[in-house]
Symmetry: C2
Subunit: 326 residues, 2 copies
C-alpha cells in the first residue's frame, strides 16, 4: 500500500470520529452528507505528507489535516450555492437536497468545525498554523470572488486567470502542505519551499482539469466531456484560444459565434470548439503551461534538504494525480 492510500485511510478514519451528531439535525446532517460524498482527501493527505517530509509524527498533524478537509468541504457547499450547481459527485448539492438557508448555515457551522480541528494542534505551533490557515482561507475567498467577477467580464488576460486559480485552488494545497510541514518541525525557509511546491503543483492540477474537460475520457472524471465549452467557462483553453486567434480574425469570429450562439446542439458546439482548439494548437499550449508550473513546483521540492526517499514519495503522489489524461 503506498503512502497516499495509507494516508487516505487515516483521514477517513479520523473524519468518522469528528462529533457531528449535534442538534438541530438540519445543521449537522448536511455536514455528514458532504463528508460522506467522499473524494480523494487530497488536502489532508498533503498535510500528512508535509509533516512526514520533515520526519514529523503524522498523528500530530491529523487534526489539522481533518480541519483542512472540513474547510474544503465548507467552500464546496458555499461555492455550489453561488454557482447554482445542482449536482456534486452525481449527488444533489446541499442547497438542492435541503435549501439555500440550510446550505449557508451548515456551511458556516462546518467552517467552525474546521477551526475546532485546527485548534487541536500542539500549542508550540498553534500560532503559525492558524496564521497559515487564516491567510489561506482568505485567499480562497478572494479567488472565488475573482472567479465570479470574471464570469461577467468579456476579456480576461491569461495572467489574471492564473492568479485566480492560484487563489481559488492552488493556495489551499500549498497551505495544507505547509501546515503539515510546520507541525513536522520544518524550518521557515523549507516550509516556504513546500508552500511554493504545492502552489505550483496546484496550478498545474487546475490546468490539467481544464484540459481534461475537453480532452479527457468522457465519464471517467464524473463529468461530461466539453462541459466547460457548453457553458462558455473561461478556462485556460478558451482564454488561450481567444489570445492566439487575435491574429486570425476568421477563427476568432468562428469561436465568438459559438460563444454567443443563443441556441445550439451541445454536441455540435463541443465538436466545433474542440476543432478550433485543435486548429490553434491549444492542447499543446495548455500542456506546456501546465508542465511549466509542474516543473517549477518540483524545483522547490528538490531544494528542500530532506531524504530523497521522502521527496520521491511526495513526487509520486503528485505524479499519480497528474496522469489522468486520456
Amino acid at each position: 500500500m503506498n503512502k497516499l492510500v495509507a494516508y487516505q485511510h487515516i483521514v477517513e478514519e479520523g473524519l468518522s470520529h469528528i462529533p457531528l451528531s449535534g442538534k438541530p439535525t438540519e445543521l449537522y446532517e448536511p455536514i455528514r452528507y458532504m463528508l460522506a460524498l467522499g473524494g480523494k482527501r487530497m488536502r489532508p493527505a498533503l498535510t500528512l505528507f508535509g509533516c512526514d517530509l520533515f520526519d514529523g509524527d503524522i498523528t500530530k498533524a491529523l487534526h489539522a489535516a481533518l480541519g483542512l478537509e472540513l474547510f474544503h468541504n465548507f467552500t464546496l457547499v458555499h461555492d455550489d450555492i453561488m454557482d447554482k450547481a445542482p449536482l456534486r459527485r452525481n449527488k444533489p448539492t446541499v442547497h438542492h437536497k435541503w435549501d439555500h438557508n440550510i446550505a449557508i448555515l451548515s456551511g458556516d457551522a462546518m467552517f467552525v468545525k474546521a477551526y475546532q480541528q485546527i485548534c487541536k494542534v500542539d500549542i508550540s505551533v498553534l500560532t503559525p498554523v492558524l496564521q497559515i490557515f487564516n491567510d489561506t482561507a482568505l485567499f480562497v475567498c478572494e479567488g472565488q470572488q475573482l472567479d465570479m467577477n470574471y464570469e461577467k467580464v468579456q476579456k480576461i488576460r491569461i495572467a489574471e486567470y492564473l492568479h485566480m486559480i492560484e487563489l481559488k485552488t492552488a493556495v489551499l494545497l500549498a497551505g495544507s502542505l505547509k501546515i503539515g510541514a510546520v507541525i513536522g518541525g520544518a524550518k521557515p525557509e523549507d516550509a516556504a519551499s513546500i508552500y511554493e511546491f504545492g502552489k505550483n503543483i496546484g496550478i498545474a492540477f487546475q490546468l490539467q482539469d481544464d484540459i481534461l474537460d475537453v480532452y479527457g475520457e468522457a465519464g471517467k472524471f464524473g463529468k461530461q466531456t466539453g462541459g466547460d465549452i457548453i457553458s462558455n467557462k473561461k478556462t485556460f483553453l478558451l482564454l488561450k484560444a481567444m489570445e492566439v486567434a487575435e491574429r486570425m480574425p476568421y477563427k476568432r469570429e468562428e469561436l465568438l459565434q459559438w460563444i454567443n450562439a443563443p441556441h445550439f446542439d451541445p454536441r455540435d458546439k463541443v465538436e466545433a470548439v474542440t476543432e478550433i482548439y485543435n486548429f490553434l494548437n491549444i492542447r499543446s499550449l495548455a500542456r506546456e503551461e501546465m508542465e511549466k508550473h509542474y516543473q517549477k513546483g518540483l524545483k522547490f521540492l528538490e531544494e528542500i534538504p530532506v531524504s530523497q526517499d521522502k521527496k520521491a514519495a511526495l513526487k509520486h503522489m503528485a505524479d499519480s494525480l497528474m496522469v489522468r489524461e486520456a
Copy 2:
C-alpha cells in the same frame, strides 16, 4: 465619560485600523460597509468589561473584542440573507446593496477576519479563548437554525423559545464577557460565573426586544411598532398569549384569526393583537420573565470576588441597556 462610552470609543478606533482594503473590492467593501453601519458595539465592549473586571489590561483584550464584533457582523450579513431582510439600520442589507453571492462570500471573509483578530491574543490564553469562541460560534449557528425551524412549526413551547434565544443571542454576549475575563486572568470558576451572567442578561435583552416591538416608542428603536405582530413572529409575547389563551377559547380564536388572516390592515392587526395581549396581561408576564433572567444574571455577577466598583460599572452598563422601554 462612563466606561461604556470609553470602551465604545476604543472599539471604534480599533475597528478603523483593521486592514480591509484588500482585493477584490467586492469582497472587502461589504465588510467595511457593515462595520460603518455602526451599532452599540456591545459585544466588544463586554469583552473589555470582562477583562477589566479581573483587573486585566484591556489593551490585551482589544483584538479579541474586535474579533467578536466582526463575528457578530458576519452573522448579521448571513442572517439577513436567510431572513430576506431588505434593511438594517435603515440602510440596504449587503445582499440587497450587492447580491446574494457577494453577501455569502464577504460574510465568509468577515468570519476569517474575525478569527485573525481572535488569534492575536497572547499565546498563554490562545487555546481557551479559541475554544470559547468556537463553541460560541457553533451555538449561534444552532440558534439561527432553530429560529428558522420554528418559523415552520405551528406550536413552540416557551422553554424551546428561551433555548433558541439563548443560543442565537445570549451566548455571544456571554462568550464575549468570558473571553475578556480569561484574557484578564479570571479563575475558571469566575469565568464560568461571568458567562452565566452574560447569558441570563442576554436572554433578558431579547425578551425586552420582544416587549419593545409592541410597547416601545415607535421610531425610537429604528423599527415600526408591531413589526413582529404584522409578520406573526413567534416572540415570547405571542407564544405566551397562545399559552394563556388556551384556557380562553374565545380569545384564542380571535388571536388565531388575526394570525391566519390572509389580508389585513397592518395598523388594525397591531391594534387588535395588542389589545388581546393587554387583555391577557402579556406585557406583565413578559416583564416578569425578563426580570427573572435579569436578576438571575446579577446573582452570578455578585458571586464573583472582585471589587464592588468594578461590578457596579458592569451592572451599570447592563442597566443602561435595559431601560429602553417607553
